[in-house]
Amino acid sequence: MQYIIPLVFIVCSAALSFETKLEQECSQLQLQFASASSDFTTCLGKNTKPVRICVTCFDYYQEVNSSFANITTNLNCSTLLLESDNAMVIQRLWDSYTNMWSSALCDTCSGLTENRTHEFRNKTEEVLDCFWQNEKKHTPELICVECGKKYDDLLNLFKSLQGYGYACADLADSMNSTAQTWSVKYQCGHPPVEYVPVLAMTIGISLLPVVFYSALWKFIP
């Protein structure tokens, strides 16, 4: 009997110490995730406009990714941190990050796939450089002519990227702002508006049914 009580005591304290050890380990993981996600959200907020999230925040995203992976691989902690309560803070945060990341198509132009967009970035630089050069030379009226070729190249490249589904939010925003500068600020690239032939065609075509039906009405009793 006298052995039993100390034995019980020892077992219990071991269990308790194991418990505290577990908690310590998990809280470390928790902290790791917290700081990673804080860094990531800060980055997102900073790069909202102009949109540069995919490239700039890629590293932070990776960090969040790995810290979450650490939690999920540790079976004890994943139960404790992800499933033990209704709030499910970590799980929900993680879900919203991945959701945002994928809806911006960021995987197509950041990290390993970043090279794909190098050309696009270079061309954008060229176009903007061209704009700037002309501004500096005080010849904005020449922009449409001088930068036309470069701009068209850029646009075509963007369209081909879009065709492959590679137009992530960064690219789309960059392209949109360049296009806006091009067409609104410098008034370039307005497609030729030929109202006359279209109008003539409209009138011609609208006469067609009239002629057809009146001929039917007249010649076929």
């Binding site: 497609p191 030729p192 279209v198 065609m201």
Partner: protein
């Protein structure tokens, strides 16, 4: 009138005219009837079998009714009839009398036996009579209708004598839903083992399953075909659009020419299929299926050739950019699939799989066709319950529980298989997110404020008005087409003109309406055209016009508010309205659902967007207004209510919108019905199909069976010579012949011998083909026939001219007794039109023999006799009109009469 004096005689001996002695001196007060009473030979017919108890009862009822004095008011009559009905056979009658009564009742269940002796005095129904009967009628019209011999004047119906809607065509045959019950079938039923019954029941479910699967496959073919062709077309157009942004390279009209050229090429294919190969595949096919389920046989409507033309045609027409959808034709396709699968063979390809033989009759086939139509709806909209309700609302007049259950099964199978195949095709098998061809997408926010219900109802009114106008214009256009499109090639030309104009108008709209949006991350580039927009921007109207109608509907329902400007929406809805009015009725396969939904959704979204700008209170998303707009307009055009509500609910997978959609649809229907009928019904009228509506026309209660019956009837004796049968079949076009004890020699006879049963033309032809006749002298029977022979021949029986009978066989006799339908429904002359109508419609009859009080055949009522009395309704007033019957060569068969009333 001496009816009252004569009646006690009848009371003493109710079966007076059975014995020939008394027939020669009949106690008939009416001299007219007396004159025409034919000489009857004294040879009694031996072919009488024991009738059933129900017949006894009904006969005793009839007998007692006949004993009533005619002067009594109808109230009194009813009371006395009730009393007499409460008793069973009078006990004081001798057993001899009873037997005679039983004998007399042989050959038919007498229905509604309120025999009024004055039925003869009313004479044949004519306008004079109506004028007096329906006292509240307009005098002017009564005068104009006075002379029924005149051909046109009497058609002062609201359509006029030149309008095809004032006539019914006699080219349409009825389907025979009433099962034939003769000695042959009864024998084969008794011989059948229990196992056979259960295998039939299993086969029914198997057929329903197969219908679902094959309908889904058809839908997949249509969907993928349209998707592929449109992609190819738009790719080419886009290339030219980009190229011709530079004015020096090519003209701005160049892409349009390419676009128009491709569209025209597709549309020519679509129209040639219809105009030259199978005209019945034109349009959505819903009117045709509606007629079929109602009991009218539209020729070639459920043939495999029709299906092929329909499927190819709809792929070509939708890819050709016409304002039409693929959903309506799916219903027709489903019906054809059902008709083919359930018969287990194809007469076109002359292959017989030797299965499902027991389903080869009108009655069962109709049930399966209802399954097919429902499966088509389920495949089109992913709405299995909507499909069941569609079959209920638009189709089946005869409904039973187990059929509902099987229809639902077919629908679910169809929806599930479509879902599985399309998901696999789109690269995510098992995803199951494509339950129908048209998928309206999910609403994320689906709440609305209570005051918005009022706006929804107002939109329902507007939808009803727009729909009524739509129907009016389309019908006028269809009338024009019927009159002036005499040559097939003109129909193709018209399609070319429409295709050309549709393309041109769309192009102009894109060009002149500036509505530019920036590229979104996930836009599909194929449908984004820059047009005249600034660099990097896209024309949103071009997106609306170019992408598939299904995606456009989704866009209109779910896009954020600033995606489309009010200018785009207005232009789009007006153009689509005009184009779909113009397109429906062309010689192409074209559905009406999608263009109506698009027009309505654009107009609804327009209202939603405008309300957002002007209102100070909370207004729901414009997408919800788009949905209500779509429902209201579609409801205004088709006047469907319950099935459409459920279809839309299922397509959006949202029950919250059930109430507003229902309120909108009901409003739209009421408003639209004030002006005209639904478009499908109007087209049925245009085709002069003798369709029976749900209810008999109001104000028809004064008409009786005696008024409307066709007389004299062509009858056969129980044993008839081959020559007589052949001559009769060649001389007449009738399809049903009463078999009577005696056929009068006098051609003007008003009535015939006692009615024994009914035989159809198909049966007679088959008897002749199988040579089921005997030599009278040697009693040598030639051919033999079994029930399966009738099924093998179904549904295409040869014409009598194709039957080859050797001259020496002409003298042979046919014994019809084994083949006549022993228990067809019959009616007394005094039965009211409304009861006759209900009996006819609910039992799906083809012929209804009218007998007099002595069970002698006096006339026959067919579908056309009932359908020609049609309700008309215009702007609050309504009445009954009588349509003329017109045969294929355009001649009027009947004298046309009319009656009209205002309420």
């Amino acid at each position: 009138m001496s009816d009252t004096e004569k009646e006690p005689l009848l009371l003493v001996n109710p079966a007076t005219d059975l014995t020939p002695e008394e027939t020669e001196n009949p106690p008939e007060p009416d001299p007219q009837t007396e004159n025409v009473d034919p000489p009857v030979s004294t040879q009694p017919d031996k072919a009488q079998t024991l009738p059933r108890t129900s017949r006894q009862l009904s006969f005793s009822f009839q007998e007692r009714a006949r004993t009533l004095p005619s002067r009594q008011t109808s109230d009194e009559k009813t009371r006395i009839l009730d009393q007499s009905f409460a008793k069973t056979l009078p006990s004081r009658q001798t057993s001899d009398e009873k037997t005679r009564i039983l004998d007399q009742s042989f050959g038919g269940t007498t229905c509604y036996g309120t025999s009024a002796p004055d039925a003869h005095h009313r004479g044949n129904y004519n306008v004079e009579n109506l004028g007096t009967i329906q006292s509240g009628f307009k005098k002017r019209i009564g005068k104009r209708c006075r002379n029924p011999k005149h051909r046109h004047m009497s058609l002062s119906t609201h359509h006029g004598p030149d309008d095809p809607r004032s006539y019914l065509s006699s080219n349409y045959e009825s389907l025979n839903y009433d099962t034939v019950e003769n000695d042959l079938t009864l024998q084969s039923e008794t011989k059948r083992e229990y196992k056979r019954f259960s295998s039939t029941s299993f086969n029914r479910w198997l057929v329903c399953f197969l219908i679902g699967v094959f309908t889904a496959c058809t839908a997949v073919v249509v969907d993928i075909g349209i998707e592929r062709l449109s992609e190819v077309k738009l790719d080419l157009v886009r290339k030219y659009m980009l190229k011709c942004l530079n004015k020096d390279v090519c003209s701005v009209l160049m892409p349009w020419l390419v676009w128009a050229g491709l569209n025209i090429a597709f549309c020519v294919v679509a129209s040639i299929l219809i105009a030259f190969i199978e005209p019945v595949a034109a349009g959505s096919g819903i009117p045709e299926i509606k007629c079929y389920l109602n009991g009218v046989k539209i020729p070639r409507v459920v043939r495999i050739k029709t299906l092929l033309c329909k499927v190819t045609g709809i792929i070509a027409a939708v890819s050709g950019g016409l304002a039409c959808g693929k959903e309506g034709p799916m219903i027709h396709s489903g019906a054809v699939v059902a008709a083919g699968v359930s018969q287990g063979r194809s007469t076109t390809f002359a292959c017989d799989c030797k299965v499902f033989k027991e389903f080869r009759c009108d009655h069962v086939k109709r049930d399966f066709i209802a399954c097919g139509a429902a499966a088509g709806v389920a495949a089109a909209f992913g709405a299995p319950i909507g499909g069941v309700l569609f079959a209920l609302e638009e189709g089946a007049s005869f409904w039973n529980q187990s059929l509902t259950w099987r229809i639902f099964f077919s629908s679910l199978v169809s929806s599930f298989f479509l879902n599985t195949i399309l998901s696999t095709y789109k690269g995510s098998p098992g995803d199951l997110s494509n339950p129908g061809l048209a998928n309206f997408g999910l609403f994320e926010i689906s709440n609305y404020e209570w005051y918005e219900l009022i706006i929804f109802i107002i939109m329902g009114v507007v939808g009803g008005l727009l729909g009524a106008l739509f129907n009016y214009i389309n019908i006028q256009l269809s009338l024009f087409r019927q009159r002036h499109m005499k040559y097939r090639i003109l129909k193709v030309f018209e399609v070319v003109v429409v295709a050309f104009t549709t393309t041109a108008v769309g192009f102009c709209a894109m060009y002149f309406v500036e509505d530019c949006t920036y590229a979104q991350v996930k836009d599909t580039e194929l449908y984004n055209l820059q047009m005249q927009c600034d660099s990097g921007q896209y024309n949103s109207l071009a997106t609306l016009f170019l992408q598939s109608p299904e995606s456009t509907v989704k866009d209109l329902l779910h896009s954020p508010i600033d995606k489309f400007s009010w200018k785009s929406l207005l232009t789009f809805s007006i153009i689509y309205y005009c184009m779909s009015v113009w397109t429906y009725g062309l010689a192409v396969a074209s559905g009406l659902f999608m263009p109506s939904l698009l027009t309505g959704a654009a107009y609804g979204r327009l209202i939603g967007v405008l309300l957002h700008y002007i209102s100070s209170v909370t207004i729901s998303e414009p997408g919800i207004y788009a949905l209500i707009g779509a429902a209201s307009f579609l409801g205004g055009v088709t006047r469907m209510t319950i099935s459409l509500t459920v279809i839309i609910m299922e397509a959006t997978r949202n029950i919250t919108f059930g109430l507003p959609i229902m309120m909108t649809l009901v409003t739209a229907r009421f408003v639209g019905n004030y002006f005209n009928e639904g478009l499908y019904d109007e087209h049925i009228n245009l085709k002069q199909v003798p369709m029976l509506p749900w209810d008999p026309p109001v104000k028809s209660f004064r008409l009786t069976a005696g008024n409307i019956k066709s007389t004299p009837v062509k009858c056969f004796k129980a044993i008839e010579s081959v020559e007589t049968v052949v001559r009769m079949l060649k001389r007449t076009t009738h399809n049903g012949f009463p078999v009577v004890t005696q056929v009068p020699t006098d051609p003007d006879a008003k009535h015939f011998g006692q009615f024994m049963g009914l035989i159809t033309r198909e049966q007679l032809i088959l008897l002749l083909i199988k040579r089921v006749y005997f030599n009278e002298s040697t009693m040598n029977v030639y051919g033999d026939i079994a029930v399966d022979d009738f099924r093998d021949m179904y549904p295409r029986y040869p014409d009598i001219e194709e039957v080859d009978i050797p001259q020496e066989h002409m003298k042979m006799k046919i014994d019809l007794r084994q083949f006549i339908n022993l228990s067809p429904y019959t009616c007394n002359e005094s039965v009211s039109f409304a009861r006759l109508f209900n009996l006819f419609r609910s039992m799906g009859l083809r012929h209804l023999v009218i007998v007099n009080e002595n069970n002698k055949a006096v006339g026959i009522v067919t579908r056309k006799d009932l359908a020609k009395f049609r309700k008309w309704r215009k702007q609050g007033s309504s009445g009954v009109q009588q349509l003329g019957i017109v045969s294929e060569d355009g001649n009027l068969d009947d004298e046309t009469e009319c009656c009209q009333g205002h309420s």
